[in-house]
């Protein structure tokens, strides 16, 4: 049965926007011969080792079914290697499915790391043009984006400086300010918000609320329950590639804390 976020669609919003996974399994293939051929993804994921067709795989997601309708704001929780990043990349349509079905309705913007498309040698404005090209945003929209991003990021005159001179928080704000400004229907965020200070977290929350007032689905993965509680109303806890809990974000946070305690205890016992 698919786990559904029952958030009502907002008035005037395209109600077709939806992310659905049905019995989705993701397995990362491992090389038979060399550990150096371990892919970037498999290097950072957890899960079970499985073998079939004379090959070894890491099963990072195991028969996951989810349905996020328009208006969903979902926080992904779980330990390292629990499958959060894999789930986000699956929802984004990046990873091929080993099994199951995926339905993506709506334009997706991702913020999986602060540096995608950013050239540290170029200044903030040049990088906004680069990101606009990366996301296929019409050039005529860029000046208006720049004004809004400068206002949101509070970068001020720093926008004229090379991004390599920015702190990690400033670079995160640039990336976050961009993806929340491009009129995507779905925003998928992996950890990036956690790198900012409290002021940025407040602004990020306001920005997400504004985004949701207009349209869309937001899925945010973080280790920080506190961050997710301010941004999301539904929580999904992953453990070893399976859904361990799905429901109210506060309860999900509590479940996640308990799960972490249990895991620590089991580790200590063993």
């Amino acid at each position: 049965m698919a786990l559904t976020d029952e958030a009502p669609a907002k008035e005037g919003v395209d109600s077709d926007v939806r992310l659905t996974l049905h019995d989705v399994t993701i397995e990362y293939p491992l090389s038979k011969t060399s550990s150096s051929r371990f892919s970037d993804f498999a290097r950072t994921v957890g899960g079970q080792f499985v073998s079939h067709d004379d090959r070894r795989f890491i099963r990072a997601l195991d028969r996951i079914s989810l349905d996020f309708p328009n208006g969903s704001r979902v926080g992904l929780l779980g330990g390292n290697g629990s499958g959060k990043s894999t789930l986000l990349r699956t929802l984004a349509g990046i990873l091929p499915l080993t099994a199951g079905e995926r339905i993506i309705r709506g334009q997706i913007a991702t913020l999986f790391s602060a540096g995608v498309g950013i050239d540290p040698e170029k200044n903030g404005i040049a990088n906004i043009y680069r990101m606009a090209a990366l996301y296929n945003i019409p050039r005529r929209r860029v000046p208006e984006l720049i004004d809004d991003i400068v206002e949101f990021t509070e970068l001020g005159e720093f926008i004229e400086l090379p991004v390599k001179s920015y702190s990690s928080g400033m670079a995160s704000r640039l990336g976050f300010g961009f993806v929340t400004n491009i009129n995507a229907d779905v925003i998928l965020v992996d950890e990036v918000i956690g790198t900012g200070d409290n002021n940025f977290k407040d602004k990020a929350r306001e920005r997400m609320e504004r985004f949701l007032a207009d349209r869309g689905i937001i899925v945010v993965a973080s280790h920080s329950v506190e961050v997710l509680e301010t941004l999301c109303h539904t929580g999904l806890v992953l453990d070893q590639g399976s859904v361990a809990f799905y429901g109210d974000i506060a309860e999900a946070g509590e479940f996640h804390r308990e799960l972490k305690k249990d895991q620590k205890k089991r580790k200590a016992d063993s």
Partner: protein, 262 residues
């Protein structure tokens, strides 16, 4: 990562043209951003290399005169572009790792990004040849019309080679050392410093059976005011069909799974 059909990937890549144009331009400019002469850095560097070859190899091989200078000034940058599309094409996926890991992007757009950066570099490098043409306008004749056909054919061939090497590199990452060694050897086995027509025996056979000879010849000969070598034209069309076809076939078979090969 990308659409599964080749036509879908090509169509989507065209929609992403601002990506590959801007990122390709920035990739090229990244190599000269710390110099005060900008893109002319490629021109100056080519000028120095051509001059060294002209005076060192030219004297040793008994080739002198302006026509030899023009021969090197055109052939050398063209060879470097082919060489780069092979020895750097294999790492296109790795260079675009963060993009591939973060969003759906048609794979062919990544090849076009690489192609744009190569063409910009080539353009600046060929300014040396352009200077030569300005000083020797006599080489401009009706054979230049062939360039309207052979330049696009050359660009398509480079693109096909880069696509093929990109996918090959994804499955055989250790190929880099081999390709680098091969390219060093090919520089001397390809008629860039020496004239293929003046060589017989083994050297002549190396030139004849070397595909680089023909890829270079279809653009260099008309640019030097010489007739188009139709044998070379046929060989290059065959290379384009075979290498491009193999690249597209491999892309179709593996496009979804390339993400696990980065």
């Amino acid at each position: 990562m990308a659409t599964t059909s080749i036509t879908g990937d090509l169509r989507e890549s065209f929609a992403y043209r601002r990506f590959w144009l801007i990122f390709g331009r920035d990739d090229a400019s990244a190599q000269f951003q710390h110099t005060s002469i900008g893109g002319l850095f490629f021109t100056v560097s080519t000028m120095i290399r051509v001059a060294i070859v002209y005076f060192v190899f030219g004297a040793a091989l008994g080739h002198t005169g302006p026509s030899y200078f023009g021969y090197i000034a055109f052939g050398f940058p063209i060879f470097m572009t082919i060489s780069s599309s092979i020895s750097n094409g294999y790492s296109i996926l790795k260079q675009n790792r963060s993009i591939i890991n973060s969003m759906r992007m048609p794979i062919f757009a990544l090849v076009l990004r690489f192609l744009v950066s190569q063409i910009i570099r080539l353009g600046f490098s060929l300014l040396v040849f352009l200077g030569f043409v300005v000083l020797n306008p006599g080489i401009i004749n009706q054979n230049w019309i062939w360039l309207l056909l052979t330049i696009p054919l050359f660009v398509c061939t480079i693109c096909a080679i880069a696509l093929f090497c990109m996918i090959l590199g994804a499955f055989f990452p250790n190929i880099f050392e081999f390709l680098n060694s091969l390219m060093r050897m090919m520089m001397f086995a390809t008629p860039i410093f020496w004239y293929a027509a003046s060589r017989h025996g083994v050297r002549g056979a190396i030139a004849l059976y070397n595909p680089f000879t023909h890829i270079i010849a279809i653009v260099r000969e008309p640019a030097l005011g010489q007739p188009l070598p139709f044998l070379s034209l046929a060989v290059v069309v065959a290379i384009l069909v075979v290498v491009g076809g193999a690249g597209c076939y491999m892309l179709k078979r593996s496009s979804e799974w390339l993400i696990y090969r980065i």
